[in-house]
């Protein structure tokens, strides 16, 4: 365990490379499925759901980095977080583009009507829009420009984005009473947020 506590920068670099490839696999799988005619009878539905799932997975993993770092003492984990966050954004862009392209064929007005009229799309859309400034301010230069304090404040939007994303998924599944997965997501995120609050409380006490 101690060996994992103090990884050399080179080792972290390798780990990051491996993680990059792993995080790209769901996308590669979709492309391969497309070529192999494995997307099923309704490929658009498959892609929409798959990219939506992976967006939520990556958002949860991103949110888990800090609690995991605190629990394990593996401080190098923080160096993987930006990439994980950007992969969340990558998959949500795919998710949104599938909707915008194949459901609305780039008809902005029609899409807008859908977004306004249907609450489950409204919350999903808000979550997507809120992720844009986070992705846009992910570079070191932007962190410097904003200043660490403001940057941190902005990126607390994650605490809003993830519940909105889960609500989007929840309402999508609610019509058929299939709530096992949304409940699992909600539980995981609640635990992660509670852990954060706990660590915050602890560090206040010590300082």
């Amino acid at each position: 365990m101690n060996a994992l506590r103090n990884l050399k920068p080179r080792q972290v670099g390798i780990l990051k490379g491996v993680l990059f490839v792993l995080a790209l696999l769901p996308f590669v799988r979709l492309i391969a499925f497309g070529f192999l005619e494995r997307l099923g009878a309704n490929p658009i539905e498959f892609i929409t759901r798959n990219t939506g799932d992976w967006t939520l997975y990556f958002l949860c993993i991103t949110l888990a980095v800090t609690p995991l770092r605190r629990l394990t003492g593996w401080n190098w984990l923080i160096r993987l977080r930006r990439m994980l966050g950007l992969f969340s954004f990558f998959y949500v862009v795919l998710h949104f583009m599938t909707f915008f392209w194949f459901d609305h064929f780039f008809d902005i007005e029609e899409m807008w009507r859908d977004v306004i009229k249907r609450p489950f799309i409204t919350v999903g859309f808000i979550a997507f829009v809120l992720l844009i400034p986070l992705a846009a301010t992910s570079t070191n230069a932007m962190v410097r420009r904003l200043g660490a304090k403001r940057w941190l404040w902005l990126h607390r939007l994650m605490y809003l984005i993830l519940p909105l994303g889960i609500l989007h998924f929840w309402w999508m599944k609610a019509g058929k009473n299939l709530l096992a997965q949304p409940i699992l997501f909600a539980t995981i995120v609640t635990i992660l947020l509670l852990l954060r609050m706990f660590f915050k409380y602890q560090s206040r006490k010590t300082s």
């Binding site: 192999l36 494995r38 099923g40 009878a41 309704n42 194949f102 999508m172 009473n177």
Partner: protein, 326 residues
């Protein structure tokens, strides 16, 4: 009606003249192997091989005479898509579940009990049911409430033939279909998604409409289990869930029956559930639909037609506010 009359004179290939399934599937397999060979290595391959279908396609042929009054000029959905992309929650809630899990369904022996407001309550064996009237092949559009559609050659006869035999009493106003709910054969019945058994219903005049098909086969064969074997109804002007599968009981009633999806989500699924592009589902528009398989990847969705294009049923709803009775 005008369109239908025109169509009578057009030659439509019966499904038996379309490329035999075994042949085109072996072609596809070949293509797939070529594609796989040129793309990926063994480990990746493992996760991508096709799941085994519960029922091997190409089972039992079923002779039926094509009824030229009921054809659709659109391209037929492939048997593969129609038998692998199903909503049949008794076998699981994913579209692929029924094809994978419906192998446990035993379709012989099978009986249908006919009860309620009838002069002759009776229990019909499936073999007797198959001989009750001449089998016809009819090509219908199928529009799912979820926004996708297919074109399927069904085999069966008008439900009215069976209703005639049962002789409903004057007080019979509705008909209810009850689906099998055997946990041993249907793993999905453990899930609390819907109330079991699955029930559906029609007004008696809807049930008597010649379009309403008591269905025992498709694509020239007996129904695959995942499509509702051994006997189901197909009501082509209503959303797919109205067409109850694997029926074990038909009841004639004075009052409107409780139907599965209506009980589960009354604001989303009405009793009538006629295909209607002007009445949206609360969570999505019903104005358009995605035709499975046919439209290709980049194609636009097609406009949904009132009553799924079966305008001859419109008189059944004369004077009704279809926004209220959705």
């Amino acid at each position: 009606m005008f369109i239908k009359r025109q169509l009578r004179n057009i030659d439509v290939p019966p499904s038996s003249e379309i490329t035999p399934r075994a042949l085109f599937e072996s072609r596809r397999d070949f293509m797939r192997h070529v594609a796989v060979g040129s793309i990926a290595g063994g480990a990746l391959l493992e996760t991508m091989t096709q799941p085994v279908l519960a029922q091997t396609p190409g089972a039992q042929k079923l002779a039926a005479k094509a009824n030229s009054a009921y054809v659709v000029m659109d391209k037929q959905t492939s048997f593969k898509d129609a038998s692998s992309y199903n909503n049949f929650y008794e076998f699981g809630t994913d579209k692929g579940d029924p094809a994978q899990h419906a192998g446990t369904l035993k379709t012989r022996p099978w009986t249908i009990a006919i009860e309620g407001e009838v002069k002759k309550p009776l229990t019909l064996d499936i073999e007797a049911l198959l001989k009750l009237a001449p089998l016809e092949e009819r090509i219908y559009r199928l529009r799912c409430v979820e926004g996708w559609s297919m074109v399927i050659p069904w085999i069966g006869y008008s439900l009215s033939e069976l209703i005639k035999k049962a002789e409903p009493t004057g007080s019979a106003k509705y008909i209810e279909f009850v689906t099998l709910d055997d946990k041993k054969q249907m793993p999905g019945v453990y899930e609390r998604v819907l109330q079991w058994p699955y029930t559906e219903g029609l007004r008696l005049d809807e049930a008597n409409h010649p379009l309403t098909l008591l269905t025992v086969g498709m694509y020239g064969e007996v129904l695959p289990n995942q499509n509702g074997a051994p006997v189901r109804v197909v009501v082509p002007w209503k959303y797919g869930f109205k067409s109850a599968k694997s029926i074990v009981k038909i009841r004639f009633l004075k009052e409107q029956p409780k139907t599965a999806w209506n009980v589960s989500a009354p604001h989303e699924y009405g009793f009538y559930s006629n295909v209607n592009p002007n009445v949206d589902h609360p969570r999505w528009s019903q104005a358009s639909e995605r035709r499975i398989g046919e439209d290709g990847f980049l194609a636009r969705k097609r406009k949904t037609l009132m009553f799924n294009g079966y305008s001859e049923v419109a008189p059944l709803y004369a004077g009704m506010d279809l926004k209220k009775f959705f």
